[in-house]
């Protein structure tokens, strides 16, 4: 147990930007807050950093309330969205800023700065001015500056959003490796689900000021619990289904035993199926149905097939692997599909509370 948020909330006047949230951030984990803009994810980060005052609830570090601890006394360091490098200082002065405030001897600062710059791969950049650096390099300097003071938690506020796609990918891997290497807790805020899935140990999916789901990337991806999570993360096919009195899952494609971990109480639910989990060949323990092909779109690595399923209003998308010689079914053709029971995610309708 490192950092605990207890019923932490934030309102501006009558506008509630963050509903009371409980969250535990474990030592050494890479935790991501994922959500669209206005979901409250950055507000949480800023309250932990001490830049924004909470309206309610508590932030506890090892059981100690941080309410009266100002930003400069909190053992956290932030990587800001715009990097916030001091333009009038060299790279080395930027990185050593926090250490010099702690009155560390000059030679020790120099050593620590060198080590931090080496860690981020900018070992020979001391005397450069931030203006002379590329976006990716500034990012690394900001990172070095944040880790050099050995904070308990590194807070990262959408640090990759200003980078182009290729560099972003590269930085994602780099950040993850760095976090593993130094073992420091990273709290990462992003609106990019791909980024969150790639990097996180655990992720918190947020929407309009409240937490939708907390779990590992695999959990979140394959076992979404709310409609928002099912549709926000990756692509999903959604339709209504029921749990009947016998505890079976009744879908428009037929009934099957309910997937593991789903409650038995009879009710109306939503089922979600990932496009890549719809199979065109027979599978065990699967629902089978004959669909009508509406269109096929070639997309390089795979093809997206739009299918009309009997009894389901919204067409489903199936992602099938493309092969050079293969001719995909023409629009209008009938196509049998299989969906494994375990590949169906059951989303509670009750969990999708209206905001």
């Amino acid at each position: 147990m490192a950092l605990q948020l207890e019923a932490l909330s934030k309102s501006y006047g009558t506008v509630e930007v963050l509903r009371p949230i409980d969250l535990e951030i474990k030592d050494g984990e890479f935790l991501t807050l994922l959500g669209p803009s206005g979901s409250g994810k950055t507000t949480i980060l800023r309250m932990i950093g001490g830049f924004t005052q909470p309206s309610g609830g508590r932030i506890l570090l090892d059981g100690q309330d941080l309410a009266r601890v100002p930003t400069n006394k909190r053992p956290f360091n932030t990587v800001f969205q715009d990097y916030a490098l001091f333009p009038h200082m060299s790279v080395a002065k930027n990185v050593g800023y926090g250490l010099s405030i702690r009155r560390m001897p000059k030679d020790e600062i120099a050593r620590a700065v060198q080590e931090a710059l080496d860690t981020v791969g900018l070992g020979s950049f001391h005397d450069r001015s931030p203006a002379e650096l590329s976006g990716g390099q500034r990012q690394r300097v900001a990172l070095a500056r944040a880790i050099v003071c050995r904070p308990r938690i590194v807070l990262l506020d959408e640090p990759l959003s200003a980078l182009d796609a290729a560099l972003r990918r590269q930085m994602q891997g780099f950040l993850k490796d760095l976090q593993r290497q130094i073992g420091t807790t990273f709290l990462f805020v992003t609106h990019d689900q791909q980024e969150a899935l790639t990097m996180s140990d655990r992720m918190v999916v947020m929407n309009v000021g409240s937490v939708e789901q907390i779990g590992s990337p695999k959990d979140i991806y394959y076992r979404p619990r709310t409609r928002f999570v099912a549709s926000f993360i990756g692509d999903n096919n959604l339709c209504e289904a029921d749990i009947d009195a016998d505890g079976r899952l009744v879908t428009p494609m037929g009934a099957t035993a309910r997937p593991d971990g789903v409650e038995a109480a009879p009710r109306r639910v939503l089922m979600a199926v990932r496009p890549e989990l719809i199979s065109l060949s027979p599978r065990d323990n699967a629902l089978e149905t004959e669909a009508e092909v509406l269109s096929v779109e070639f997309a390089g690595a795979g093809s997206d097939m739009t299918l009309r399923l009997p009894g389901i209003e919204t067409p489903f998308t199936a992602r099938i692997t493309s092969e050079p010689g293969q001719t995909p079914p023409a629009p209008g053709a009938r196509q049998s599909i299989w969906i494994r029971r375990d590949d169906i995610a059951v989303v509670e309708k009750a969990a999708e509370q209206a905001p």
């Binding site: 830049f51 956290f76 360091n77 932030t78 800001f80 001091f86 009038h88 800023y97 926090g98 003071c149």
Partner: protein, 279 residues
């Protein structure tokens, strides 16, 4: 008309305004500074006598040096008052911030003469300042120290020119991203350290600009010294004015004006050079 000639025409049109309104009058002065006056008639000549006259008569360059010192003091007082004021306005939040700023630069929209008379009525023997000091018991009786002397020039100029200090300083402060002061706090710095190590260095350009504005404006001001300076408050601006208005020695006045102009240029050039080196 080809695009080349039309572009030339456009350039000529654009260049003609500063040429006619700035370069020509200054050039006129420069040329006139080599002329001389004989029997109240200006004679076109090519003499350095006017410049020699300035250097030979120590009353002139003493006044010149005194004026430079005075204007430097005006700029210094301006910064000493203007910087803290700008800083505290900058730290305010919401509408009050811009309201206060507007209030402080409001005198810029007022007539110069009105401002000087206002200052006179504040600094005079029956003025607000004396009444206040007597009322609070700091002085036993009204003092004549505040008007018709050098102190009066200093106080009046510093007050009137204050908006020219506050505005550029406030603008550089506004340009400092919030994330920088937050990053400083995030890295462990208290408010004081953040000020000394982040805010102050980043607001130096605006501070220098404010000081420079004030200095150069004070240098050229001859009305304020005339109105509040009394017999002791003889500044270089007044000397120049007297050459035109009283002595009717325009060439000599022109030479003195050229000297002051070159000095102001040198100060601005030096400031620009230092700013460029810092970067």
């Amino acid at each position: 008309m080809t695009s080349r000639t039309s572009r030339l025409l456009l350039f000529a049109l654009a260049a003609s305004v500063p040429l006619l309104l700035v370069v020509l009058p200054i050039g006129n002065f420069f040329v006139m500074s080599f002329w001389r006056v004989s029997d109240n008639v200006i004679v076109p000549d090519a003499t350095l006598a006017n410049y020699a006259g300035f250097l030979e008569n120590d009353a002139y360059w003493r006044t010149f040096l005194f004026t430079i010192g005075l204007c430097a003091a005006v700029a210094g007082i301006g910064i000493a008052i203007g910087y803290p004021v700008s800083y505290f306005i900058w730290r305010l939040r919401g509408r009050i911030k811009y309201l206060l700023l507007l209030l402080l630069i409001l005198p810029l929209f007022m007539s110069y003469i009105v401002k000087i008379y206002t200052m006179r009525s504040i600094l005079g023997l029956n003025g607000f300042l004396n009444k206040f000091l007597v009322f609070t018991g700091i002085l036993d009786q009204p003092s004549t120290l505040f008007l018709y002397n050098r102190t009066a020039i200093l106080i009046t100029m510093a007050t009137i020119l204050l908006p020219f200090v506050i505005l550029p300083i406030f603008l550089t402060l506004e340009r400092i991203p919030k994330s920088l002061t937050q990053a400083s706090a995030d890295l462990g710095a208290g408010a004081g350290t953040t000020f000394w190590r982040v805010v102050l260095p980043l607001s130096l350009p605006g501070t220098a600009a404010g000081a420079l504005f004030t200095f150069v404006l004070a240098l050229g001001d001859y009305i304020t010294p005339q109105m509040v300076g009394g017999p002791n408050g003889f500044t270089f601006g007044r000397v120049i004015w007297s050459q035109f208005g009283l002595a009717y020695n325009w060439p000599f006045g022109a030479a003195l004006a050229v000297i002051m102009f070159l000095f102001a240029l040198a100060v601005i050039g030096l400031a620009a050079f230092m700013a460029a080196r810092q970067r």
